[in-house]
């Protein structure tokens, strides 16, 4: 499964998402629509860190990196490749 789909599955099942995972599109505004709140951010980070064995720096916790599935995938993708 791609990073994107793993993240999609996680957000759809663990965060405030009440529709099928397939409807969570790559550019869906997660912050604007309040799918991700302050607790959600912490859940996503711990998922990313344990699932992909990478570290998310405090400085990376900014809206640009979490505004959509595409943004989070880019953040994780950049770490996995390095």
């Amino acid at each position: 499964m791609s990073i994107q789909d793993q993240l999609r599955g996680f957000i759809a099942s663990e965060l405030s998402w009440d529709r099928p995972a397939s409807e969570l599109t790559d550019d869906y505004p997660l912050l604007e629509k309040e799918v991700v709140d302050s607790l959600g951010i912490f859940k996503i980070i711990s998922f990313i860190e344990s699932e992909f064995d990478v570290e998310v720096e405090d400085e990376e916790l900014i809206p640009d990196n979490f505004e959509s599935l595409a943004a989070i995938t880019k953040l994780v993708g950049g770490k996995v490749q390095v």
Partner: protein
């Protein structure tokens, strides 16, 4: 001497007219501007028929407009009722109908929601939008919408409405165990008792820059707004969006050189973990106050180590009593220590502990905390029964009939005379500072036609105090997504359980009740 909240603003507008009162992003208002705008709004409200004692709804995101709106309502003699714009419309409609709101102050961005709101209630007649008129979709016929053009020519003079300190200033709706939220009625005196104490205790002065983090439908917002107004200081509204990212909150404090911060502990815990705090962080910070839930010792200790310079204080009090006790944390608590105390009563408030058998508890004995004094509410709106259950005659007074509030919180007085919070007598819990009745969530879930049995358990959590998990037995085929969607229609997002576990049947105790302890044990085992 100011006996009413809006007089604080009027006095500061007279003495510090050009000082900045409120900052919202790149917009701000001076005391003169804030007072004049609030006066215009108040004169409009009065013309619309708002009278002393009426309730005016605030249906607004946290903004300059919301601050103008609450002062406008107060100046018209009304009590303001701030309604959570993120809660389901059904809940907002309940509040409007419950306390008979005739006028709501809102924004055009929320037009779809307040139109829906108006359709669901009989009482609502007017919506005031402090913006230029735009193309709004047709509103229900009986609803009149008033825009900025109706405000601009109004008098900027302070309206003369004979409000006294015993009049209601605002109503805050909190979670109710029987499924409906309950409106806590608070007077000008109730708020000022706390505000006046806080200003003196923490030496708040004109040069201070206070953060306003809590939403206006949450009683933590009272201190920031009115303490600042009392001394002519500046309030910086914290944009809700930045609270999601700890590093941005730290930057916000640094950038605006915030001197007084007041919030729930969970946001501070997040800053400790992910906010890149150091001893050089937030040099301007002078006073750091927290309330609403227990601050986990390990995070508080770390925070005080990282940012040692401010005064730290734990404020305690249910919405019904404002803040009624406080504890100054003078040094980082030892890691092995339990939760820090909630301290001693604030000025002009009396507290005592009553044991199970109805006697006054001696120090060290566990009992329920009772609160007496001018910070205590005037009851629940339209609910004499529940008011009578919580606001009872002082059991130890002989001649003076004096209502005291039963908090439902179990406490014990320690050797220093400080109260320690031990837990609740009922099913009320805290999560991210929000007070939640598990019964209200269960009532919502039971409304789903397929649900046969249900119990919501609160799972203790370091970061947010409690996480909510629902266990259910259902009749047909219901998915957890269905249930999330269903709950979102009825209760605010922070009350929607994060997981729904479907079981064949719920475990029972020997007396046939749902066995919550075993569900909680199951949850702890699984995680």
């Amino acid at each position: 001497m100011s006996f009413v909240l809006h007089k604080l603003l009027e006095d500061s507008a007279a003495t510090s007219s050009d000082r900045v009162a409120v900052v919202d992003g790149d917009r701000s208002l001076t005391y003169r501007q804030l007072n004049e705008q609030a006066n215009r709004l108040a004169h409009l409200l009065i013309e619309l028929g708002v009278e002393r004692g009426d309730r005016v709804g605030l249906f607004l995101e946290k903004s300059l407009e919301a601050v103008v709106a609450l002062y406008g309502a107060l100046k018209a003699g009304a009590a303001y009722v701030s309604i959570d714009v993120h809660a389901p419309v059904s809940r907002a409609s309940y509040i409007v109908a419950n306390c008979g709101i005739g006028v709501v102050i809102s924004s055009s961005a929320l037009a779809d929601t307040w139109k829906e709101l108006a359709e669901g209630t009989e009482t609502l007649r007017h919506v005031v939008v402090q913006e230029e008129a735009d193309k709004l979709h047709p509103a229900p016929e009986r609803l009149a919408i008033h825009f900025a053009d109706e405000l601009k020519d109004r008098s900027t003079l302070d309206p003369q409405v004979g409000v006294i300190e015993l009049d209601l200033a605002y109503i805050i709706y909190t979670s109710g165990s029987t499924g409906a939220p309950k409106g806590v009625k608070l007077t000008h005196l109730n708020a000022l008792t706390f505000v006046n104490w806080g200003v003196e205790e923490f030496a708040v002065a004109a040069a201070d820059r206070l953060s306003s983090h809590a939403p206006f439908h949450f009683d933590l917002s009272i201190f920031d707004l009115y303490a600042a107004a009392k001394v002519g200081a500046t309030v910086y509204l914290v944009p809700p969006k930045i609270s999601i990212f700890p590093i941005q909150v730290v930057r916000f404090i640094e950038e605006h050189e915030i001197t007084v911060w007041y919030s729930v502990p969970s946001i501070l815990s997040m800053m400790v973990q992910r906010g890149k705090l150091s001893s050089a962080s937030a040099p301007s910070l002078r006073v750091l106050l927290f309330a609403g839930e227990v601050f986990p010792t390990k995070y508080l200790r770390r925070l005080m180590e990282l940012v040692p310079h401010p005064v730290y204080a734990n404020l305690y009090g249910p919405t019904e009593t404002n803040v009624c006790t406080f504890y100054r944390v003078s040094e980082p608590p030892p890691l092995e220590a339990g939760a820090i105390p909630i301290g001693k009563a604030i000025a002009n408030v009396d507290t005592f502990v009553v044991t199970e058998s109805g006697d006054r508890a001696s120090p060290g004995e566990i009992g329920e905390l009772f609160v007496r004094g001018s910070s205590v509410m005037r009851g629940y709106w339209g609910d004499p029964e529940r008011t009578a259950a919580r606001l009872i005659p002082d059991p130890f007074a002989s001649e003076v009939v004096d209502p005291v509030y039963r908090t439902g919180d179990l406490v014990r007085e320690d050797a220093n005379g400080d109260y320690l919070f031990l837990g609740r007598r009922d099913n009320q819990i805290k999560s991210r500072g929000y007070r939640i009745e598990l019964g209200e969530i269960e009532t919502a879930i039971y409304q789903h036609p397929e649900v046969a049995e249900c119990a919501v358990v609160a799972v203790p959590d370091d970061l947010v105090t409690n996480r909510l998990v629902a266990y259910l037995a259902v009749r047909g085929t219901v998915t957890d997504k269905d249930l999330v969607r269903f709950c979102k229609e009825l209760i605010p997002p922070y009350m929607v359980p994060e997981a729904f576990h479907l079981l064949e049947g719920l475990p029972k105790t020997s007396t046939g009740k749902i066995d919550r302890q075993s569900l909680l044990a199951r949850e702890k085992e699984g995680s």
